[in-house]
C-alpha cells in the first residue's frame, strides 16, 4: 500500500522493509547494527497499514516525497498555522502551487521554508474559496503528546 501512496506523487520507487504493519526505509548501513531480537522501530518510519484497506504515511515519508516530487502547495505563515490546526487551505493561504493542477490529486503542503507540514487533496482554485482539503498535518504530534502523557 505504500507503493500506491508514493505513486500519487512520483514515479520513483522507495525501497522499504516491513515490520508488522509498519514500513521503514531500507537502510543497509543501519541494518549492520541490528541486535538478534525483533526491533520495534528501524531508522526512518514511512507509514503504516490501517486495519481497513488504508495506508497512513509518516511525516518522514512526506519529507522524503517533498524532495522527490513537485506536487506541492506552498503556504504563507497564516496558512501554515491554520493548516496545522486542521483547517482546509483557502486561496488567501496559498503562496504558489507546483505540479499538476488536477482536481482530486494529492498535494504536499510546504511552508515558506519548503518544509513539509502535511498533505491534502487539491480541489481547485478557479472561483473557489477552498484550494485543498486537509488530510493530515504535523499538529498530530501535539495530540499524540497529550494522549501519551495522559496514559
Amino acid at each position: 500500500m505504500l507503493d500506491t501512496f508514493v505513486s500519487k506523487f512520483t514515479d520513483k520507487k522507495i525501497k522499504f522493509i516491513k515490520i508488522g504493519i509498519r514500513y521503514f526505509l531500507d537502510n543497509k548501513e543501519l541494518e549492520k547494527n541490528r541486535l538478534d531480537v525483533k526491533e520495534k522501530f528501524f531508522g526512518l518510519l514511512l507509514g503504516h497499514d490501517e486495519e481497513v484497506d488504508k495506508f497512513t504515511p509518516s511525516f518522514g515519508l512526506l519529507d522524503l516525497l517533498s524532495k522527490m516530487s513537485n506536487e506541492k502547495i506552498f503556504v504563507k505563515d497564516i496558512g501554515e498555522m491554520d493548516f496545522l490546526y486542521g483547517k482546509h487551505l483557502r486561496v488567501r493561504h496559498v503562496l504558489r502551487i507546483e505540479g499538476e493542477k488536477k482536481i482530486g490529486f494529492l498535494k504536499l503542503v510546504q511552508n515558506e521554508h519548503d518544509e513539509n507540514i502535511g498533505y491534502g487533496k487539491y480541489v481547485g482554485e478557479e472561483g473557489k474559496i477552498q484550494v485543498l482539503k486537509h488530510r493530515m498535518d504535523r499538529g498530530i504530534f501535539l495530540k499524540r503528546d497529550k494522549e501519551k502523557v495522559m496514559h
Binding site: L30, N33, V37, F41, R138, F141, K148
Partner: protein, 280 residues
C-alpha cells in the same frame, strides 16, 4: 532526613525556579537559524552557557509545543542537565542507549552517530517513537526489551539509570521517598551498571547518569563498578560540584571527584549526577 543528608554532602534542599530549556535539532536546523525563527515569533532566547546547542526560554507569549517549529521537530524541550550526558560522551560510533525512553538523550545522541535504543516499557517506548518521527531521526533502531537481555558489544553505552528522582521533579517527592526506596534503586542500578560494563569493548566508554542526588544511587554505584570491574573514571569537563570522595563515613576512590553532581541551587538545573567510565 534528606535535608540533613544534603547538608552533610555540601548541598541544599532548596527548590529553585528553572528556566525552560530547548535543544536545537541540528539534524534539521542550526542554532542561529532556530533562534532567528523563534525570535520572529517574539520568543526571547538565551544561550545556555555550558551546552553546545541549547537555549533557555526567557519569555514566550504562547506554549512552545503549539508552534510550527516544535511540530516540525526543529527543537526538543529538554532540561539543561539532561543534555550533558550525550555531550560529554560525544560518541564517534554506534552507541547503545540502555534505558532510552522517552528519547531526549536518544535523539540527541543520534546527532552524533547511529543509536540502538532499548527500553522495557511499551508506553514509554511509544513516546520515544513519536519523538523519533517528529525530529526526523533516521539512524536509530529501537527495541522493546530489558537492557539486561542485550548481549552485543559496544564502544559507547549511555546508562541513564532508573532512579528515585529528586525534589525538583515533583512537589511531593520528599513525602514519596525514603531510604528503603533509594536502596532498592541502588541495587537495580548496580545490576544495570555491571551488565553495561560487560557489554563494553576494551577502551569503550560508559556514561552513567541519574537525576538522583542520593550517594547510594550515584557515587556508591560507581564505587561498586570500580571495585568489581576493570574500569576507571575519566575527568568530565562540565558544570557541577565534584563527586563525593568521603560521605556517610565511607571513604570512596579518590578519582570519584571526576564525577559531577548538579545541586539545583548552584547549577540552576534539576538535581543530577554524571560519571564517565572507560573499560581498561
Amino acid at each position: 532526613m534528606f535535608k540533613a543528608r544534603y547538608k552533610e554532602m555540601g548541598g541544599d534542599l532548596k527548590v529553585v525556579k528553572l528556566n525552560r530549556c530547548i535543544r536545537v535539532n541540528t539534524k534539521k536546523i542550526s542554532p542561529d537559524g532556530l533562534k532567528a525563527r523563534l525570535e520572529k515569533r517574539r520568543v526571547v532566547l538565551e544561550k545556555v552557557p555550558f551546552l553546545k546547542n541549547a537555549f533557555y526560554i526567557k519569555s514566550s507569549k504562547f506554549n512552545l509545543v503549539s508552534c510550527p517549529e516544535y511540530l516540525l521537530g526543529l527543537f526538543y524541550i529538554q532540561e539543561a542537565a539532561t543534555q550533558v550526558p550525550a555531550e560529554i560522551m560525544s560518541p564517534k560510533g554506534l552507541v547503545l542507549d540502555a534505558c532510552a525512553a522517552p528519547g531526549g538523550k536518544t535523539t540527541q545522541l543520534a546527532e552524533y552517530c547511529d543509536v540502538i535504543a532499548v527500553d522495557n516499557k511499551a508506553d514509554r517506548l511509544s513516546i520515544l517513537e513519536n519523538n523519533l518521527e517528529r525530529l526526523g531521526v533516521d539512524n536509530c533502531i529501537a527495541y522493546l526489551i530489558d537492557f539486561r537481555s542485550v548481549q552485543n558489544k559496544f564502544n559507547y553505552i549511555l546508562l541513564d539509570a532508573p532512579c528515585s528522582g529528586n525534589f525538583m521533579l515533583e512537589n511531593n517527592w520528599l513525602r514519596k521517598n525514603n531510604l528503603k526506596r533509594v536502596e532498592e534503586r541502588s541495587e537495580l542500578q548496580k545490576e544495570l551498571i555491571g551488565h553495561a560494563i560487560s557489554l563494553l569493548n576494551k577502551d569503550g566508554v560508559l556514561v552513567y547518569s541519574t537525576c538522583s542526588l542520593e550517594p547510594e544511587e550515584d557515587e556508591f554505584v560507581i564505587q561498586f563498578a570500580l571495585d568489581n570491574f576493570d574500569v576507571k573514571l575519566e575527568k568530565i569537563n562540565c558544570i557541577g560540584d565534584d563527586g563525593l570522595t568521603n560521605i556517610f563515613g565511607k571513604n570512596l576512590d579518590p578519582s570519584m571527584k571526576f564525577c559531577k553532581r548538579f545541586w539545583p541551587h548552584k547549577t540552576n538545573t534539576i538535581g543530577f549526577f554524571i560519571a564517565r567510565l572507560r573499560k581498561c
